[in-house]
């Protein structure tokens, strides 16, 4: 791994989950920036550079699927992981545009593995 920390943009409206993910992913050596809604995520994307995006789907205002559509028009090179409490959104074909779909779980192992896999490929 090179010295420069990989940057992750986390889009999640649950404040407690943001805090948990920030701490856990920092422990893995990533730099995490959180956005509580899609609008502020898009602002951060325009002004900053990120190596990976993790997004929830159900959020107040614009939902995760709309966010992915917007990101597709903006940047196509950043891998996206959907992290939702719902299994069923997999049926929405727009979620296929994401690189991975991880259902929320109290063990963050699967999410961490997917991040690693996508950043190393």
């Amino acid at each position: 791994m090179n010295d420069k920390k990989k940057k992750i943009l986390l889009v999640e409206d649950e404040k407690a989950l943001c805090l948990l993910y920030e701490e856990e992913l920092s422990r893995e050596g990533y730099e995490v920036t959180s956005a509580f809604d899609a609008e502020s995520a898009l602002e951060l994307l325009v002004n900053g550079s990120f190596d990976l995006i993790i997004t929830d789907i159900r959020m107040p205002g614009k939902d995760g699927i709309e966010l992915i559509t917007n990101i597709m028009g903006l940047r196509r090179d950043i891998p996206i992981i959907i992290n939702s409490a719902y299994q069923s959104y997999k049926e929405d074909f727009m979620t296929w545009a994401a690189d991975a779909y991880v259902v929320k779980s109290s063990s963050l192992e699967e999410l961490k593995n997917k991040i690693k896999e996508l950043l190393e490929s």
Partner: protein, 452 residues
């Protein structure tokens, strides 16, 4: 000039052709909120009323799988009783509701009624040597029996029960299958059954068959809707529960690490405590919404309830930072609703209005009679307003615009209003605010007219 006519007459029409009279009687059953049993009774009434087809007696079998089961038998047991019944039915001004009420007593299942004699009677529909009435149902044909004593297809057991030699079997045919059968006779007057009788009875059979089919399909639709709603609820609940559980699990995971600094241990415990309260709140609200079976509406004066909601700690605390402007016309009236549901509904709407309005803003509550039959409570806020796409979904369960709402408040209000025959409507403009109108049935308090 425009002349209006009512679709249905509430009275038996005596001076119209029999065909029209039968249609008129049966049509009532599709409009009146009777039960399926009552509506079938209406059809038997059409078959036996003098102004209808005019048979003496009519028995009804309902199909249950591969057999016909005796359900009810309408008619007099003797000539004397026949005279009594016909006297009742020819009372001037008697309407459908009274006649159905009268006939309901006649077909009740107790030892003295005709119904009791056929209640345990069944006929198989897949026998090789089928007897009447199975034969009519299996062949989907109206069968007229002229001489039951000498007819081999007539089961001796059935002949003993019906006790007459001439009767007509009408299978209740629907577009899908045979739904049952009606058997009519003229055991009292001994009048011979003619071709017009057969035609009219056939018409009743078709209507009854399709009515039974429609009511069964409707029941299936209701069941399917219930299942779909349950699925939606299950999905929503699993999502609502998952977020706090994931957070708790993650922070507990951290607590189990030996190197976690002391201050973080305490912080994690507080986060877990908060998430537990959130779970409790979700479970409480879900249970509250799903379980409460609304109580029957009653007539009551709503003033005390309105005052107690406005003075309740949760509303008055929230209202401290707002201007809450209340004007209620306290007339001598009563509204029709379950008082505690009324209070809950009002609390929900006021709560939403206060939450939507920024501190310092105004919330207006008005109560006024719309006319002599309706009383309206209006709540207007000066908050953010509701967008057009949200308006369409606003009253649906689980729809919310709040960050941590379950979306059950307005769905509950809608349920309350439906249960008392009232109305909920709203108007809203983005950035300007929203006004909700809850309109309840109302009436003058007895004795108040004399006083005023």
């Amino acid at each position: 000039m425009i002349e209006p006519f009512a679709f249905l007459s509430a009275r038996f029409e005596k001076d119209v052709p029999r065909e029209l009279s039968v249609l008129s009687i049966i049509s009532q059953s599709f409009f009146k909120p009777f039960s399926v049993e009552d509506n079938l009774l209406v059809i038997l009434t059409a078959l036996t009323s003098g102004s209808g087809v005019g048979f003496n007696r009519a028995m009804l079998f309902i199909r249950d799988g591969d057999r016909l089961k005796g359900e009810m038998w309408l008619g007099p047991r003797s000539a004397n009783e026949a005279a009594d019944i016909w006297e009742v039915l020819s009372t001037p001004g008697i309407g459908y509701v009274e006649i159905i009420e009268h006939n309901r007593l006649l077909v009740m299942n107790n030892e003295n009624t005709l119904t009791h004699r056929i209640k345990n009677l069944t006929f198989g529909l897949n026998q090789e040597k089928a007897s009447i009435p199975s034969l009519a149902a299996m062949r989907k044909e109206i069968l007229l029996v002229r001489d039951a004593a000498n007819e081999p297809a007539v089961d001796p057991r059935f002949r003993e029960i019906i006790g007459s030699d001439e009767f007509l079997c009408i299978p209740l045919v629907s577009s899908e299958e045979v739904m049952g059968e009606i058997i009519v006779d003229n055991a009292i007057t001994r009048r011979s059954i003619n071709l017009t009788d057969v035609r009219l009875a056939g018409l009743c059979g078709l209507l009854a068959g399709n009515y039974i089919l429609t009511s069964r399909l409707y029941q299936r639709l209701l069941d399917a809707q219930k299942m779909a709603a349950m699925g939606e609820i299950a999905m929503f609940v699993s999502h609502q529960l998952r977020n706090p559980i994931v957070a708790m699990g993650g922070f507990i995971e951290q607590l189990l690490r030996p190197d976690l600094p002391e201050e973080k241990k305490l912080r994690n415990l507080y986060i877990i405590k908060d998430e537990i309260s959130r779970l409790e709140k979700i479970i409480f609200e879900m249970g509250h919404f799903l379980k409460i079976s609304l109580k029957e509406p009653v007539w009551f004066k709503p003033w005390d309830m309105i005052d107690s909601i406005l003075n309740s700690p949760d509303i008055s605390t929230k209202a401290e930072s707002h201007v809450l402007d209340v004007k209620i016309d306290r007339h001598e009236i009563e509204i029709f609703c379950d008082p505690s549901s009324f209070g809950e509904a009002l609390r929900n709407i006021i709560d939403n209005a206060l939450e939507a309005t920024p501190p310092g803003g105004c919330v207006y509550l008005r109560g006024y009679p719309k006319n002599k039959d309706w009383f309206t409570v209006s709540i207007r806020d000066t908050g953010r307003g509701i967008s057009n796409p949200d308006k369409a979904q606003l009253l649906r369960p689980f729809f919310t615009t709040k960050e941590k709402g379950l979306g059950l408040g307005l769905a509950f209000v809608k349920r309350v209003m439906d249960s008392c025959g009232g109305k909920i409507d709203f108007r809203s403009r983005l950035g300007k605010g929203t006004i909700f109108h809850l309109t309840f049935p109302c009436r003058q308090v007895k004795g108040a007219e004399e006083k005023t």
